[in-house]
Each structure stands twice: as structure tokens, then as C-alpha cells.
């Protein structure tokens, strides 16, 4: 816990803890999730995310990173605590209100999670499902501006030539590009990414991280990335949140992350040192 306390002064410059300011797009307050009663996967997490920048959440697998990120858009139902998106508590929303909040949060997945039997362009247009009326979806009659936007985004991620291919015909890196484009199609206020590079080779991983960082910067939206790869986190994130055992044990800039922190997050490394 001392590590987290060390960093409070640093994060205080960014946003005063405990207060929701207009600068923060997203604030978590006391967020707890227990799949089994009395065994919380994440417990009492309070974090603030400012309106821009890449935040990497690092930690070993099974430490609740995925649960945390899914509690934000309520793919997982938090047990207690608040998720404040622009001041609205998402944990109180239901039905149409929840869906309206979800469409403002784009999400990128570890295994891309494209609808494999749909074409690439149709996968992108899935990002508009929160906006477009159902009959248009059923008839595949999307508004012209959405289609134009989708093609522009595909061109941006370098896949315009693949628009009519089926998603399962693409390589892993290409699929993740489509996944990012689909998330951005939602015109989100915030991007979430759950281990977006874990299924990719090292070179493609770097390209995907660059693409996510750049596209978020172009749209002036923040990104929260779950990632276990410390080197990638250091390279792309402006802030790192270290999690261990369901709690935040480090919150600060990448430069502040040292071997002691990493040992606390991941346990003792067998080879001795941490090379970031």
C-alpha cells in the first residue's frame, strides 16, 4: 500500500482524489466486484481518468483487470461502488439509459470479437447499433453518413480494400484494426481495451498500440488499456496503474515504476531483474 501512497502526490496534480471534476471523463468510486460472496475480484477501486491520454492498467492475469474494465461499461455488473461517466453514475442505469451510456464507450477486445461471418464493413457498422433504429439494421439500410464514416475509418486503419471481405478471412492484426475502427465508429467519449495485443506477435502489437494511441489522440479521447506487457505499457502509456490482488498498488507515470513496484505487482521474478 505504501507504493500507492507514494504516488498520491503525483496523481493529485492530475486530479484531486475523491472529487469528480469536469476534467475527468471517468471516475471510479469504491468499485468492488465479487463473483462469489466475500471473495472480491476487485475491491474498493477509486480512480480518475482525465479527458485525454493513454492509461495502462498492468498486473498479472487473474488480478481483476478484465473485471475492472468490464465493470466500466457494465458487461460485468459491479457489486458495489460507482462508475461516473461525465458525472452520471452508470451503475444506476438500466435499459435504454444504460445502452445510451454504453455507446459512448468504445471497447477493443483481446480476441478481437468481430462477428466472423459478417463483412468487415458490416462489423464497423455494428458500432452504430446504439444509434441506428432497428428496422434500418434489419434491412441493412444504414444512414449514408454512417457508411461514409465507416469507409473513412477503414481507410484510416489501412483496410479499405478489405471492406467486403468476411471478418474471418483477415489476419489477427487486421482483425484488431477492424476492432479498433468498430470501437471508434461509436463516436465514443472513451476507449477501453482489454489485452488488445495478447493474441498478436510483438511487431503487430506495437503497430496496434500506435494505432490506438494515435486514433484516440486525433479524436481527443482517452484510452484505458489492460495490458500485462510492461514494456508496451511503458512505451505507450502516459500513466500506469499497477494492480495486484484486486487492488491498485501503483498509480503514476511510467518513469516512476521501478523494480520494487513490479515485484509487488507481479511477485518475485525468477531471473532477478525487470527489464521494461
Amino acid at each position: 500500500m505504501s507504493v500507492a501512497e507514494d504516488q498520491t502526490s503525483r496523481s493529485a496534480e492530475r486530479a484531486p482524489a475523491g472529487k469528480v471534476t469536469r476534467d475527468n471523463v471517468l471516475s471510479l468510486r469504491g468499485l468492488t466486484k465479487a463473483y462469489e460472496r466475500g471473495k472480491p475480484v476487485i475491491s474498493d477501486i477509486s480512480l480518475d481518468f482525465p479527458a485525454r491520454g493513454v492509461v495502462a492498467i498492468i498486473g498479472p492475469s487473474g488480478t481483476g483487470k478484465s473485471t475492472l474494465i468490464r465493470c466500466i461499461n457494465r458487461l460485468v455488473e459491479p457489486t458495489s461502488g460507482q462508475v461516473l461517466l461525465g458525472g452520471t453514475d452508470l451503475t444506476k442505469l438500466r435499459g435504454a439509459g444504460l445502452r445510451a451510456a454504453r455507446r459512448e464507450i468504445g471497447m477493443v477486445f483481446q480476441e478481437y470479437n468481430l462477428v466472423e461471418r459478417l463483412s468487415v464493413i458490416e462489423n464497423l457498422l455494428c458500432g452504430r447499433l446504439g444509434y441506428v433504429p432497428l428496422w434500418r439494421v434489419w434491412m441493412r439500410r444504414y444512414p449514408d453518413e454512417d457508411i461514409a464514416h465507416a469507409f473513412a475509418l477503414l481507410e484510416r486503419v489501412g483496410l479499405a480494400d478489405f471492406a467486403t471481405r468476411r471478418a474471418d478471412a483477415l489476419s489477427g492484426g487486421q482483425r484488431q484494426r477492424v476492432g479498433i475502427a468498430r470501437a471508434v465508429m461509436q463516436s465514443p467519449r472513451l476507449l477501453l481495451a482489454d489485452e488488445p495485443t495478447s493474441s498478436l506477435d510483438p511487431r503487430t502489437s506495437v503497430e496496434i498500440m500506435e494505432l490506438m494511441r494515435d486514433m484516440a489522440a486525433e479524436r481527443d479521447i482517452p484510452v484505458i488499456i489492460n495490458i500485462h506487457d510492461v514494456a508496451l505499457a511503458r512505451r505507450f502509456a502516459s500513466r500506469i496503474v499497477g494492480m495486484s490482488g484486486g487492488s491498485v498498488v501503483y498509480d503514476g507515470p511510467p518513469e516512476g515504476l521501478n523494480d520494487d513496484h513490479l515485484t509487488q505487482i507481479y511477485g518475485r521474478s525468477e531471473t532477478g531483474g525487470w527489464i521494461g
Binding site: R102, V115, C126, V137
Partner: protein, 266 residues
């Protein structure tokens, strides 16, 4: 080391142990077949008498008689209509019922009644359902159509529900994350994953309904079956032969169309 070897031997003995229970089941099955054959008085003499009658029957069937082709065509057309209408309605109804029965998308309170309905539709042979409908609403093709709609739901809805239960929920999760409504998730996240299989079930059911539609007439449900049954009763075996040949032709054409449909949609 020796102790380990003994343990491994133990595991090995269990891995290929003879299954006495299974052997007993097989033995019982064979014994019952022999017993049942004895019960039903199958004798060689009975078989020879049967062969003799069969020869006379076949002789009277040929040459087939197509002079009453109008009656034949009328019956065939009615069967075809029964098959197509019941397939269209039955398959269409199977979509929502199958969706309601999928345990990975629906709460138990919904899947249990949906599954109970499907089980009911599956529990009777179409002919029994046809008899019930003929008694309930009277002779004619409507009874046959209703019977086959019911049978179609039993088959297609069940397989459709099973196909939905096998989909990748990761794809569904991603569509949910976009803020899509439940129906939006179904249209873009669920249906694309099961559509080609659904086409497979549907064409198979069309094929099956084509065959069943020639049968419902026997119990008064309309179609060529009625014509066939009265031809049998009047001992018009040459006309019977003509009807059988026409049915074979219709089924084969139906099969061609079904396989063409499958290819087109996959």
C-alpha cells in the same frame, strides 16, 4: 521406481478393462430379437406365400396407367402446396420459438415453456397430429398444413435453439458493448453466426415436408395421399404405380431445389 511401475500397471489395467455391463446389454438385445421373431410366427411357408402374392401385385402394377393424369396432377399440386405453405409458416414460427428456447440468451422462465412446446410438437409423428387436426377441423388440406406446421416447429425450432446455444458469446459481448438493444444484438451478433445452419435445417425440413405431404392425405389431410389410398382400395394397382412414380419424381426435384438453396445461401 518399482512402486511407480506398479502404479502405472494399475492405471493401465483400468484403461482397457472389459466392460461387462455393455456386453450384457448386447447379449440381451440379441436374445430379444430372436425371441420376438419367434413370437411373430415368421415361418418359411408364410414367406413363400408372401412372395407369391407379391409377384401378382407387381404384375398388376405394370404398365402404370397415366390416363387419369388430371386427378394425379391435382393431387400432386395440392401436396406441393401443403408442403410449401407448411414449410414457410413452420420455419418462420421456428425462428422466434427457437430463440426463446436458447438457454444462453434467455432466462429459465422463458426457455422452459418454449422447450416444453417444442417437446410437445416433437412427441407425435406427423400422421398422428394430422389425424387429430382432421378430427378437430375437418377433412381437407388445411388439416394437413396445420399438422406439418406443427411438425416443422418441432424439428427446426429445436435444432435452431441448439445452434444458438453453440454460438461464440465473445462476438455477442462485443455487439452488446456497442450499446445495441437486445434485438440489435440478435440481428447483428446472433443471427449471422447461425444463419447458414438455419438455412440447412429449413431446406431439410422443406424436403421432409414434401414427403410428409404425400402422406397426410391418407388420413384425410389433403394432397396426393388421398388419391393413392382410394386407388389402393379400388385395387387400381396400375394407377397406384403411376402415382408412386410421380411422387418419386416430385421428391427428387424437391431434393435438387433444396441442395441448390443450400449452396446459394452458404
Amino acid at each position: 521406481m518399482n512402486k511407480r511401475q506398479a502404479e502405472l500397471d494399475q492405471i493401465r489395467a483400468v484403461a482397457f478393462a472389459p466392460d461387462w455391463r455393455m456386453r450384457a446389454v448386447w447379449l440381451g438385445f440379441v436374445a430379444y430379437v430372436i425371441y420376438a421373431t419367434g413370437q411373430l410366427n415368421f415361418t418359411w411357408e408364410r414367406f413363400v406365400v408372401g412372395l407369391d402374392r407379391g409377384a401378382t401385385f407387381l404384375g398388376r402394377m405394370f404398365p402404370p396407367e397415366f390416363k387419369r393424369w388430371e386427378l394425379l396432377a391435382e393431387g400432386l399440386l395440392e401436396s406441393l402446396q401443403i408442403a410449401i405453405i407448411s414449410s414457410a409458416v413452420g420455419i418462420l414460427l421456428s425462428l422466434p420459438i427457437g430463440l426463446l428456447a436458447a438457454r444462453n440468451l434467455m432466462p429459465v422462465a422463458v426457455t422452459v415453456p418454449a422447450r416444453a412446446f417444442i417437446a410437445l410438437a416433437r412427441s407425435f409423428h406427423p400422421i398422428i397430429i394430422a389425424i387429430i387436426f382432421v378430427k378437430a377441423i375437418g377433412f381437407g388440406p388445411l388439416a394437413g398444413i396445420l399438422a406439418l406446421i406443427f411438425a416443422s416447429i418441432g424439428f427446426v425450432a429445436k435444432l435452431f435453439a441448439e445452434a444458438i446455444e453453440e454460438i461464440s458469446l465473445k462476438q455477442v459481448e462485443a455487439v452488446r458493448a456497442t450499446g445495441a438493444s437486445f434485438m440489435g444484438v440478435v440481428i447483428m451478433g446472433v443471427l449471422p453466426q447461425v444463419f447458414s445452419r438455419f438455412i440447412g435445417f429449413a431446406t431439410y425440413q422443406l424436403d421432409s415436408n414434401l414427403r410428409q405431404s404425400t402422406m397426410v392425405g391418407i388420413v384425410g389431410g389433403g394432397g396426393i395421399g388421398g388419391t393413392l389410398f382410394s386407388a389402393f382400395r379400388r385395387f387400381d394397382y396400375d394407377f397406384v404405380c403411376a402415382i408412386l412414380i410421380s411422387i418419386i419424381a416430385m421428391i427428387m426435384i424437391g431434393e435438387l431445389i433444396a441442395s441448390w438453396l443450400r449452396k446459394t445461401f452458404q
